[in-house]
Subunit: 227 residues, 2 copies
DNA sequence: CACGGGCATCAGGGTTCCGTCAAGGACGGC
DNA sequence: GCCGTCCTTGACGGAACCCTGATGCCCGTG
């Protein structure tokens, strides 16, 4: 299911968007200011962001830059300003599209679909989404892990961490990068989180958790996932 | 250089676009009908297409579908029609953006930059830089060293030192430079560090550590890495 | 031939980093 | 409002890592 983050300080607009999006089977989060938006984006990793530029706490362009610091999620800007400069500034800051209020719901939804569509991974390669090891199988598309014929139950954070590691199979992922991708851009030094959750993953997935074969520690640098 | 394909049947619009784009160092091709557009797209592989929907020979949406059959090149639609249905149809056919005439050149160029930007390959660090020698292989992206089919474990300092040397393959790297890049700018005279860690690297990577072939000492000056 | 500078090697000790456990708190479902 | 799940945080023992000093070798110089 596609996850949308709606950011607007006008309740009636948020309501209209939420209703329309939910009716079309989108999963919707909403924020009414920039700080909440950045926080929610980090926590929920939406597939697309609909962002009103006129927010009470900060400039909308700052929100765009804050997002672009760590993610390429499509950003669809909503604004009452028609001025060309505003549009150029927002687009160059990293927005993907710019719609002026008042807008037609049909058009907005079509632009949303376009933004989501082109963010989809390139090939229709189903094969690449499944990663197998001797001990377990990870299905990135279905968000499932299977071990010995049974599905393994992972918490959201555990899954997220696993996902980042698996998407970088064989490559070393630095602890700072892991923290930022899983916990959000404001993290980077809380390495104890990594220790705790890496232990959980090993306990659930490794054949012998005390002698990990797949989740490998590189002391002082980060972790590495090996098939 | 970014290559743009402009498709429009109105000469003055094409001219305005071509002038503005060339002034900004884009490489520009132009077509005045759909058939030519499809042909040029196939022959020239543009990085982005600016497409007017009102063409003399075929429906603009057909051009979009024709392109989408084989390429994900960003398509920026230009149209005099303001109707919502038109926009939705074009976007759902595979267009990336929809601008209504008359349009501001600044805005169009900003949308063009946005379309090109998000089509860029993910992460500039994907370039798997691999350096091979007779004895071992270094993968700078994955931070991995392989020797005789087995991965070699390096400590952070060892890896850092190796990285600096490998990035300067064949060149002499001064001791001061090595110390500053690996240990920080306040170091420069602690050459004993270098001796210790160079010995570690040789022991782990050289075929005959006592007679190094790849990590070569230049007495009094520094070290050099040779393939 | 004696000497000294620069380098290689080795092993010890202090420090940082990691794995593990357990407790407390936030959140949502029933 | 209770209960279970999940996330956060702190503490501690042990392992990995980094620095340091000592020793011996090579080589050019006096």
């Amino acid at each position: 299911m596609t996850r949308v983050l709606v950011v607007d300080d006008e309740p009636q607009i948020v309501r209209a968007l939420v209703i329309n999006l939910k009716a079309r089977k989108y999963e919707v989060d909403a924020a009414h200011d920039g700080a909440t938006a950045l926080q929610l984006a980090a926590a929920r990793h939406p597939d697309v962001v609909v962002l009103d530029l006129g927010l009470p706490d900060m400039d909308g362009v700052e929100v765009i830059k804050g997002l672009r610091g760590w993610t390429r999620v499509p950003i669809l800007v909503l604004s009452a300003r028609h001025s060309s400069d505003e549009k150029v500034e927002a687009l160059d800051a990293g927005a993907d599209d710019y719609v002026t209020k008042p807008f037609g719901m049909d058009e907005l939804l079509a632009r949303l679909r376009a933004a989501v569509r082109r963010a989809e991974p390139v090939g229709g390669d189903e094969a690449d989404v499944i990663v197998e090891t001797d001990d377990f199988t990870v299905d990135l598309a279905a968000k499932k892990v299977n071990r010995g014929g049974k599905d393994v139950r992972l918490t959201p954070t555990e899954w997220h961490l696993l996902e980042v590691l698996v998407r970088n199979t064989g490559r070393l992922v630095g602890q700072k990068q892991l923290l930022q991708e899983v916990w959000g851009p404001s993290y980077g030094t809380e390495t104890n989180y990594l220790r705790v959750y890496m232990a959980q993953l090993r306990r659930k997935l490794e054949g012998d958790p005390s002698r990990p074969r797949h989740f490998i520690t590189e002391a002082g640098m980060g972790y590495r996932f090996e098939k």
